[in-house]
């Protein structure tokens, strides 16, 4: 009843249970946080707009992205993954989401930023529907915790459109 093995067993079980409980509480504490992020994206330039040999439209653009995501960080946050996606509709597809740029914000100090960049990933359509296309730019963020449940949300910015003709 009081052997070494028995005591070790009880100790380990207790330790693991308490650890699991602490992780759960850490994760629950994230729900107390009410984030209020803000972002703004401007398209500075359409660099080029071509139809590829396979028949798909492709655009290269340069954007100005500024955002303040500091309110997303809690003590249980490991990093925040953000990305900007162009979202639009075509006759064949009810929804197209193409990620143009992403970044990892490792700490609260880096969460308020401004960046001037061309699209990191190719903006390619399935087909050639992009001439004159209106699209939304959405800034998505995924909060990755040190332990527990992950949160995600987004800001949708409307009113962007592509040129009528290829360039």
């Amino acid at each position: 009843m009081h052997s070494f093995g028995y005591r070790l067993n009880v100790l380990l079980t207790f330790a693991v249970t308490i650890l699991a409980l602490m992780c759960a509480m850490a994760s629950l504490s994230d729900n107390l946080n009410t984030p209020s992020p803000s972002a703004e994206i401007q398209i500075m330039n359409i660099n080029w707009f071509q139809k590829q040999p396979q028949g798909n439209d492709e655009v290269s653009l340069t954007m100005n992205i500024s955002a303040d995501l500091q309110s997303l960080f809690t003590w249980n946050t490991k990093q925040v993954f953000i990305f900007v996606a162009a979202e639009y509709e075509t006759p064949k597809n009810s929804l197209n989401q193409v990620s143009l740029w992403d970044a990892i914000i490792p700490a609260k100090e880096h969460a308020k930023f401004w960046i001037h960049t061309s699209n990191k990933y190719r903006f390619v359509d399935q087909g050639n529907n992009l001439r004159g296309k209106e699209f939304n730019l959405t800034l998505h963020w995924h909060v990755m915790p040190k332990t527990g449940k992950m949160f995600a949300n987004k800001i949708v910015m409307t009113g962007y459109s592509l040129p009528e003709e290829y360039r």
């Binding site: 052997s3 070494f4 093995g5 992780c23 994760s27 490991k78 990093q79 993954f81 990305f83 996606a85 006759p91 064949k92 597809n93 009810s94 929804l95 197209n96 989401q97 193409v98 990620s99 992403d102 990892i104 490792p106 990933y121 399935q126 998505h140 995924h142 990755m144 915790p145 040190k146 332990t147 527990g148 449940k149 992950m150 995600a152 987004k154």
Partner: protein, 180 residues
């Protein structure tokens, strides 16, 4: 140390009925674990409700040895979600983020492209020959939560099978020699 002598004594004094009872208890424990696992599969809707991260392609978010909790709902797949998928011909599932989604008007089926956060390029190199997109049936679940470090036990057992045999041997010995 007296417990070595005690262990030898207890092995000598094994009775058949006691041994059978302990065998049944062990069977009950294993079966309960299996029931819990299958129940989790039902609740989360995923074939594999918990996976261990095996590569560094999602660093610094997920490191090797972390475990991910998966959930598969009927909700459509959207960009940014971290999904676990199987490529035809590969047995190990991959955990990466969705970066492109094209959803059909009529059928609602999707073409999905994924990429590991820490990889320079997208996953087309990992897909099967000639495959450019993933479909919904390739995807086993979405990652909804995670615990760090806990998966190292699984990695060690898989990569050094001798440890698996040592562990099972030690557990078996413990069951046989315990008084209750």
């Amino acid at each position: 140390m007296g417990w070595i002598g005690d262990t030898v004594d207890s092995i000598k004094s094994i009775q058949i009925r006691q041994l059978l009872t302990q065998g049944v208890s062990l069977g009950m424990i294993v079966t309960s674990a299996l029931i819990i696992w299958k129940a989790l599969m039902c609740i989360t809707g995923s074939e594999s409700p918990v996976v261990v991260v095996l590569s560094e392609s999602m660093e610094p978010g997920f490191k090797r040895g972390d475990i991910l909790f998966l959930h598969m709902s009927k909700e459509p797949i959207r960009a940014g979600e971290i999904v676990v998928f199987n490529v035809d011909g590969r047995e190990i599932p991959i955990v990466h983020r969705v970066i492109k989604v094209h959803e059909r008007q009529d059928t609602g089926e999707v073409d999905v492209l994924t990429k590991g956060d820490n990889n320079p390029g997208d996953d087309r190199l990992l897909y099967a020959q000639g495959q450019h997109w993933l479909q919904r049936h390739h995807i086993m679940g979405r990652a909804v939560g995670f615990l760090p470090y806990v998966g190292w036990v699984t990695i060690i057992i898989t990569e050094k099978p001798i440890i698996k045999y040592i562990l099972i041997g030690a557990l078996g010995l413990l069951v046989i020699t315990s008084k209750d």
